[in-house]
Point group: C2
Chain length 316, copies 2
DNA sequence: TATAATAGTGACAAAGCTTGTCATAATCGC
DNA sequence: GCGATTATGACAAGCTTTGTCACTATTATA
């Protein structure tokens, strides 16, 4: 094997193993230790952040700042990737320690000139917008870390005007229209709850608490684990075309809209009784784009709410 | 310079120039043409898609499927980039021809084992959600291309139930909560308008139309170019804490909310008179989280709308 | 049609680089 | 102290790389 190729493979190998000894690599590549030593020095000169320690249990390490091997991207892929990470700049907080802008500028900088030109021309013409929020969510990394390592986190959570201490075991975190949410098992309520991260004012691991075994609960299925002995009511509503689209945008789970040929549609399905307040408020906002048929409780609430709003604006 | 380093630099150089001759590179690197030929052959074996043509004006080319040079990403950066492109999967349509999943799997595949493990563990625990829409927006590439190259596009646009033919010159495209929008100069209305891409049922370049010179209008500033001789009215409203947050999410431009210490706030600013319908509908949806003081026209509309909704649900 | 520009191949020797071996040092944990 | 480990230097054998030259082939263009 030529030296050039050996260096490339060496690069990948040291990135794969994080820790290794010279002898080990020498055996693996079928060359002498001296050669590997020389190669490693060269890799270091090229930019791979190697670190070594002598003595037993010593050896080489690749530092946290690691170099990924050359990845072949087509131009299209590179552009797509660029704009994907470009979209991240709308987020005030991210669960990653790094600033994504670093990766972005690297990506941009190393691209051949004409791809860069293409990106420049597109930069102000494509965007993925997320509402920029003022709310800060500074505890994302703790929550994510807690979810990944299944730890119990003690949070100070603000709800209904007051702040309470809770122990939670996070399932994960997700961003939706600019806000971060954290579904978690709440030890206070003995059940899964959805927390808004901007209302979490403190978060830290609680080393004394014993985590539950919830390894297979994740963002994709946590809602199935809400073991709620809930009462459900049947919801039925007629939707205009606009109404159908609002369904898609604003109702993430719960009943999906049925669509007719002409774009209009209807909602039908069971919803938790405790959510009727939510639905009433929501449907009032949709105005004439929805007509609620069932349940009467939602209709009642809507009427009451309409009256309350009307009371705000007395006739002159 | 050692051969290994020369090969690396050669890789970057041929990616930068798209077209080049052997002689050219030989001069640049200070080696003989024969050496460059040998090097290029080796690059080809490694995987760089080179293509050559003999004769005058011939030379080497790197094919469209291009290999980007080795980029040094830190682990954190790689992870952030992964999740950024992971988020793209929520979009039914993208303006790029490529499937972003290709780039994603490459990225994933080439990462060292432990980073891959880390990603695996995080995969179901972090997400950037955008509402998945049923609406298809199949003409994104044409619109984007039209924006980049400043061409006039003929579209069939559906609005208010009917479909009309229009000539537009796109400014760009952007995605917001799952829907694609296209601000453009509309030749029919002689002014800038915002189009929803899922309502554009056909789009193609109009070669006969003469584009305007709008090169410096882009997504960042097109709203300033709406040269509307509009009447403005003064809007003033009180917001609860919830109301402030809805402002941030739903009012992208127009007056920004002012926030008090306790989280509540108020809206104050001039808004186009023709938007009072929009605001009335919006504020009705916000219910008790907003109290509109001015203008009377908005309040009037809200009242009327409340009555209309109430009429839907007659007292039994 | 001739010419110049271009890629591509083979051969060869000189120069240069790479490699293994050996010797030696230094550090560290046990 | 011993063994494992990195680290460095020297050196010669062997291998690789490089430049040169000679040649072929293709193609646009003058």
């Amino acid at each position: 094997m030529s030296k050039s190729k050996r260096l490339l493979e060496l690069m990948m190998t040291v990135n794969r193993k994080r820790k290794f000894t010279v002898k080990e690599l020498a055996r693996e590549f079928g060359v002498s230790s001296r050669t590997i030593l020389r190669d490693l020095q060269e890799l270091g000169e090229i930019g791979v952040p190697l670190y070594s320690e002598v003595g037993p249990h010593g050896g080489y390490q690749v530092l946290n700042e690691r170099v990924l091997p050359p990845i072949a991207f087509t131009e299209e892929e590179a552009v797509a990737l660029f704009f994907a990470s470009h979209a991240l700049r709308h987020y005030a907080d991210l669960p990653f320690e790094t600033e994504s802008s670093a990766a972005l500028s690297k990506f941009y900088h190393y691209m051949p000139g004409d791809v860069r030109d293409r990106i420049d021309r597109m930069k102000n013409r494509v965007d993925f917008i997320a509402p920029t929020r003022l709310q800060k969510s500074p505890h994302l990394s703790v929550l994510l870390d807690g979810a990944v390592r299944q730890r119990v986190v003690r949070i100070a959570y603000e709800s209904g005007g007051s702040t309470s201490d809770r122990l939670i075991q996070p399932v994960g975190i997700f961003a939706n229209s600019g806000l971060w949410y954290c579904p978690a098992y709440c030890f206070l309520r003995s059940g899964y709850r959805l927390f808004r991260c901007d209302r979490i004012h403190a978060a830290e691991f609680d080393p004394s608490a014993v985590p539950l075994n919830l390894g297979d609960v994740d963002l994709g299925n946590w809602e199935d684990h809400r073991d709620e002995p809930l009462k459900y009511v049947y919801l039925r509503a007629e939707l205009t075309r606009e109404g159908v689209q609002r369904c898609e945008a604003e109702l993430w789970h719960s009943p999906k809209a049925h669509v007719r040929e002409d774009g209009s549609g209807w909602l039908a399905g069971h919803v938790p009784e405790r959510d009727i307040g939510f639905f009433a408020k929501l449907f009032v906002g949709w105005g004439l784009d929805v007509t609620v048929h069932e349940p009467p409780a939602v209709v009642e609430r809507m009427k009451r709410q309409l009256d309350e709003i009307k009371a705000r604006y007395p006739d002159t």
